[in-house]
């Protein structure tokens, strides 16, 4: 079962506002009228995704699972596949993924440890998942704050030793052509990260930047 995008956006927003989601604020963020929002909320609660607590809205367990799935799909889109035509072929060949855990393990070689960390990471992600992107997708001059790195222990520890720990601000200096490495400024030094490494580092875009 898939949920329509607008509904998902609503769920993400409610999660992002963390128990303080009031209709006024939600409508403002979504850019729709209060009426439309009311309809959307009604639909969501009918599906058992959200519930009302006094004047705020929060996610039900089902809603949380839905958000988690959405995030997983989003990160997967950003991380796992090449964009463009090749990516479409890959996705077509893979079909729709049912067993996500198995997919991460088999296709992306994540072990049980890193998988556990990954799920915790996407659950703890503050704000909407769409504010997260892979470091490899940032353009020169753009900034990001490291949210988490997806990969085995070896990789994330090497990254941490070089200063790329969660919460660290990075600025992209330049990238090499054809999916070459990316040079970033972090903690006052320049690091070159291979495309594969950079695409495993997920960053939050600081507010007020694009």
């Amino acid at each position: 079962m898939s949920i329509e995008p607008q509904l998902l956006e609503l769920l993400e927003l409610i999660k992002a506002q963390n128990k303080l989601a009031r209709p006024g604020g939600l409508a403002l963020e979504l850019g729709c009228s209060l009426d439309d929002l009311g309809k959307l909320l009604e639909k969501a609660s009918k599906e058992g995704l959200v519930e009302r607590m006094a004047d705020t809205w929060r996610l039900t367990d089902k809603g949380r699972i839905e958000v988690q799935r959405h995030r997983e799909r989003y990160i997967h889109e950003k991380y796992g596949h090449k964009p463009g035509f090749l990516g479409q072929i890959t996705r077509f060949v893979e079909g729709s993924i049912q067993d996500w855990r198995g997919h991460w393990r088999r296709r992306h070689g994540l072990d049980e440890n890193s998988l556990r960390g990954f799920y915790k990471n996407i659950q703890d992600l503050e704000g909407r998942v769409e504010e997260t992107s892979s470091l490899a997708d940032l353009h020169p001059g753009e900034r990001g704050i490291v949210a988490f790195a997806l990969g085995g222990y070896g990789l994330i520890r090497r990254l941490a030793d070089m200063g790329l720990t969660p919460g660290t601000e990075v600025t992209v200096i330049r990238n090499a052509p054809f999916r070459g490495p990316i040079e970033v400024a972090v903690r006052g030094v320049s690091l070159a990260l291979g495309y594969g490494v950079a695409s495993k580092v997920f960053v939050k875009r600081p507010k007020g930047t694009d």
């Binding site: 006052g188 030094v189 070159a192 990260l193 490494v197």
Partner: protein, 657 residues
């Protein structure tokens, strides 16, 4: 004279902070470069006499951390923890204080007596950063001596600081690294347990450090702990604690620990460093943006490489001629004359042709190209250009399962395969090193270039010679891919520091060249000389002709070369450019077009280019990868050369009619 006190100090710190420059400043030319016992990690050691002290100085490998990712890190920390040098000088780059303090924190955790050399304060000033060294010294509880290693500023003060500690005039009150409360409480518990259950291990390493390392999931320490009878219990406790920390923080415990170390480092750096002025690095920045540019970077790289090899060949050629004259006309005749007065003539022949011409070949042919190569290499290295090369070439290297740094090995290979093999140490894992070594020896070095240019380039044309180079690159990529698929293990991605551009110091370049040349002579010369003697003995006894006869089916039948080409190919194992000289000797002419057809020239060059890297390279391979792998690589290369040579002979004969 009073007896000298002997003490040992070790230099530790990140890569690219000027550690080896400080080492050179301290020791001068009095240094020994070798390997750490049983490990392919360079060990540089020197001695300094200062104020009645005989100070042994060790340059530990430059690392960013003291975990167990690389052999370098294990070597560095085991030396500090187990050998316990009297003082550790932590060389720190003042312009990148935060990242460097991360390492300092780990040194303090090892409970080592640390003195800080706050280096590159001049460069930091250029970046607009001023570090208050007294404040830093107070914060860390250790002496901090500001230095500018390249010009030698501050080295004396550093030494007197060290002596003050040795004489007990300065007390060290190193900062105790404290983590968050939820970690600290658990660490304490674990530390107590370690002291109680593992007294031997905690005599070797500080117990608290073992506790931290266990939470850091350090494989080396975990294995050491589990090697003891009570170890399993400790490691189970550590695992449980790590799980608790993971639950609290939502990150694996090693990441939590790294994060906390970094936040200590970052807080301290912010406290003691002031941004005083806007950076004045216009030239450096412009250079950086051009040389690492996504389009311009590549033609510049090609230009730099062309200039490098042109210089090597021009300078090398002049040196070769001068030295050859010296040997041929003065040194060899003089020695022979002296020898012939005491020894029988057959022995004199063996010595002159084998031993002396071996030395002569090494000195007159190898060194003239090697020395300029090392000079240019050191300049490129010290200026900071090589990481840009790795940056630009990372992508193609991934196709053969390596990353950008491997391109540096390949480039070195065009100069000489011997330093290129040693250079493979820059790769992180044993798998990457082997793969890089395997493809590097297929790169035509300067000596092979002499053959290709002298034969194919001169008699067929430069395009044909370039064609051979292109074919070689294709071969490197194909074989690299095969090796990449065949070797078990995951490829490692590129994570590399891009140090800012710097003006290389000629003094350092000279010292590096000297050390490397010495290293080359040590590896290569014994084998070149021994090989010359053996081959000369074969020639004197006439055995060489029987061997040539035995090889005839291969040389004539399969490769389609004239029978006399067999001997140069055997001798080529010594030094590849010898093949051309010998061919001229045996053919009795310098005009190769009289003895070889164009197809034969190409086949001869191909075989020379691919078959066993010369004996010095084999020695380097043995040193890096041990006997078995070196032998395997050599055999693969011989077979490859024969197959490709034979196929090329048939194909070219067919095409060219």
């Amino acid at each position: 004279m009073e007896t000298k006190r002997r003490i040992t100090i070790a230099l530790a710190g990140n890569a690219n902070v000027g550690k080896s420059v400080i080492f050179n400043q301290l020791t001068g030319l009095d240094q020994v470069i070798g390997n750490w016992p049983g490990k392919t990690v360079e060990r540089a050691e020197g001695t300094l006499h200062y104020h009645g002290y005989s100070i042994r100085i060790l340059d530990l490998p430059g690392t960013y951390s003291l975990s167990a990712f690389s052999i370098e890190e294990i070597v560095a920390r085991d030396y500090i923890a187990i050998e316990r040098p009297d003082v550790i000088v932590n060389v720190v780059d003042a312009s990148a204080l935060e990242r460097n303090l991360y390492f300092t924190i780990q040194l303090l955790e090892l409970e080592a007596p640390v003195v800080m050399a706050l280096n590159q304060v001049d460069f930091a000033a250029k970046k607009g950063i001023r570090v208050d060294n007294e404040k830093l010294s107070k914060a860390l509880g250790i002496p901090v001596a500001p230095t500018v290693a390249i010009t030698g500023i501050g080295i004396d003060e550093l030494l007197s600081t060290i002596v003050k500690i040795l004489e007990g005039k300065t007390e060290l009150t190193p900062l105790k690294i404290r983590y968050g409360k939820e970690i600290e409480d658990r660490l304490e518990k674990l530390e107590l347990k370690i002291r109680e259950k593992l007294p031997e291990l905690s005599a070797k390493y500080p117990a608290r450090w073992i506790a931290v390392k266990l939470l850091d999931k350090d494989e080396d320490i975990t294995a050491k702990v589990e090697g003891y009878q009570n170890g399993a219990e400790i490691s189970a406790l550590a695992n449980a604690i790590a799980k608790e920390i993971e639950r609290i923080h939502g990150e694996p415990s090693p990441i939590v620990i790294a994060s906390e170390r970094y936040s200590i480092a970052s807080g301290m750096a912010e406290d003691v460093a002031r941004i005083e002025a806007p950076p004045r690095l216009h030239l450096e920045e412009r250079l950086d943006s051009i040389t690492a540019h996504k389009i311009l970077g590549y033609p510049i790289l090609a230009l730099v490489m062309t200039a490098m090899f042109a210089t090597i060949f021009i300078v090398g050629d002049i040196l070769v001629r001068t030295l050859e004259n010296l040997f041929k006309n003065i040194l060899i005749p003089a020695t022979l004359y002296l020898l012939s007065t005491v020894l029988p003539s057959a022995l004199v022949d063996l010595i002159s042709k084998g031993f002396l011409s071996g030395i002569a070949a090494g000195v007159t042919i190898a060194l003239p190209y090697i020395v300029p190569f090392y000079v240019i290499l050191s300049i490129l290295e010290d200026s900071g250009y090589l990481p840009r090369v790795a940056f630009l070439l990372d992508n193609p290297m991934h196709k053969i399962g390596l990353h950008g740094k491997a391109s540096i090995c390949l480039l070195l290979g065009y100069g000489c395969n011997v330093p290129a093999c040693t250079g493979c140490r820059i790769m992180e894992t044993q798998r990457e090193r082997l793969l890089a070594g395997f493809v590097t020896v297929l790169i035509p070095c300067a000596a092979r270039t002499v053959v290709i240019l002298g034969l194919v380039g001169r008699y067929i044309g430069i395009p044909a010679a370039l064609g051979l180079y292109a074919f070689d690159l294709l071969l490197v990529f194909t074989l690299g891919r095969v090796g990449f698929k065949a070797l078990p293990g995951e490829p490692v991605g590129l994570i590399m520091e891009m140090p800012p551009y710097k003006m290389p110091s000629m003094k350092t370049v000279a010292r590096k060249t000297w050390a490397r040349t010495k290293d080359f002579v040590y590896i290569a010369f014994p084998l070149i000389i021994a090989g010359s003697v053996v081959l000369e003995a074969l020639a004197v006894t006439g055995l060489i002709w029987s061997i040539a006869d035995l090889m005839n089916p291969l040389i004539v039948g399969w490769l389609g070369l004239p029978s006399i080409a067999g001997i140069p190919i055997i001798f080529g194992i010594l030094r590849k450019e010898l093949t051309l000289i010998l061919l001229a000797d045996l053919a009795g002419t310098l005009n190769f077009s009289q003895v070889l057809t164009p197809v034969q020239m190409i086949v001869f060059s191909l075989v020379t280019m691919i078959y066993v890297p010369c004996i010095a390279t084999i020695a380097a391979l043995i040193r890096e990868f041990k006997w078995k792998k070196a032998l395997a690589i050599s055999i693969i290369d011989i077979l490859l050369a024969l197959v490709i040579g034979g196929v090329a002979f048939r194909l070219l004969t067919y095409i060219l009619g």
